[in-house]
Symmetry: C2
Subunit: 224 residues, 2 copies
DNA sequence: TTTTGCGGAATGAACATTCATTCCTTTTGA
DNA sequence: TCAAAAGGAATGAATGTTCATTCCGCAAAA
């Protein structure tokens, strides 16, 4: 970085990278976690910068100093929060895998008719992707990446299992085709992923109408 | 690196090597490609090694000396055939994009009923992917990559257009849903891609039966 | 004061690419 | 027919660059 007047910088310079004064002050007033607790704001800035860059340029295509710059922290600071580049990418992965799971499963209408369950699933997925496009792309891009650690893989598997169960119950209610649930699950999931990627690349405009039409298509693909 | 006299290039698509013409010409006069030669075999070995490694580890994750080792050539030799790592990845991309296009479009039954056209398309795609799994993954992985050059992008667009037209004719025959063709195209294409990727990751077993079942699902997704 | 968190220059490893050299085939000259 | 020279292809150590990670001096907090 070029600026050396950071000591007195009290206002944000584009990126939410406030020097720790304000935050530490808050910590002090609250009276908890005082002392060696490191600033969550800084950690979050790093996670966000990493998410954006990894999703756009991939893991190997992203240089750590670039992550630091984007996060508005020093290059060394990242290593106070994450042991390595791999640890960082895994932290991002787990953070968003959890968020996606939560976004879809929270209060899911498991007792509703299958058709409605499917619609709910589809639009929750679309909603998550629309609100967190980088995160959604990141998760897709790093699915099965060799540098994902065991915890990331476990989380991935768990989400997968829950997704399959959703199809199994639909089959039990004689609403879905009696095919292997992982086949149905993959068809629907990857259809949405493809649609979303194309819309991001500007090849398809993903209006609410199209989204609804695509939902119908996918339902007809899996319905009995 | 814009050689223009490649009329004697006998091998695959891509950037013809600069110093090649005169030599190839001499050989051509003799009628055989024996003996000393800036051999197409070597160029092909490099393309194959690059395909395997790029599809498995990505562009930035693949080191050129590793490509050389895998191809069984010296590191410097690659640069006799390809101007740079980027030129190499583009040559691989164009080679296989063309092959895929050919595999699907060759003698395509354009006059058959839409249902049969769809089936033909699906199984040709599956056949190509089964025979050239690395190539299929490579093409998917590098779709829209920032290091693809204009020629690669043009080829990509061309294939895309032809694929859309296939859906448009289906619509004209009142066999397919009257939705934007790029939407239908994306749904089907990405469903297959997802299925294939999962099968490669060992998550789904893609037997001929499953493939046929998935084809039915996809047809029902797009049929009127 | 001491402790702690931080920034960013410093470091060594790994990378893409180059180039002086070797190797091999063909041509030349007898 | 063969020896030797020519010349282009192949090589891999060398080069300069970029990267992930470390280190250290400084400033704020305790």
């Amino acid at each position: 970085m070029t600026s050396n007047s950071y000591k007195f910088a009290l206002t944000s310079v584009g990126v939410p990278c406030l020097k720790r004064n304000e935050h530490s002050f808050l910590k002090f007033k609250k009276g908890f976690f005082v002392g060696r607790d490191e600033s969550p704001a800084k950690r979050d800035a790093i996670l966000k910068a990493a998410l954006d860059l990894f999703s756009e340029r991939g893991f190997h295509g992203t240089a750590m100093p670039l992550v630091a710059e984007r996060a508005g922290v020093g290059a060394g600071t990242i290593y106070r929060y994450f042991a390595s580049k791999e640890a960082l990418v895994n932290a991002v992965y787990q953070q968003w895998k959890l968020a996606l799971r939560e976004a879809i499963l929270h209060d899911f209408p498991f007792t509703a008719p299958p058709r409605e369950q499917f619609r709910t699933f589809w639009f929750r997925l679309a909603d998550f992707a629309a609100k967190n496009p980088e995160a959604f792309l990141f998760l897709e891009l790093h699915h099965h990446a060799p540098y994902l650690d065991d915890e990331s893989k476990t989380m991935s598997e768990r989400g997968r299992g829950e997704f399959h169960r959703f199809f199994e119950t639909g089959q039990a209610m004689a609403a879905l085709k009696p095919l292997p649930p992982e086949l149905l699950a993959t068809l629907v999931w990857s259809a949405f992923v493809g649609l979303f990627k194309e819309s991001r690349a500007g090849q398809v405009e993903l209006t609410p109408e199209r989204l609804a039409e695509a939902e119908t298509c996918c339902w007809e693909a899996v319905r009995l």
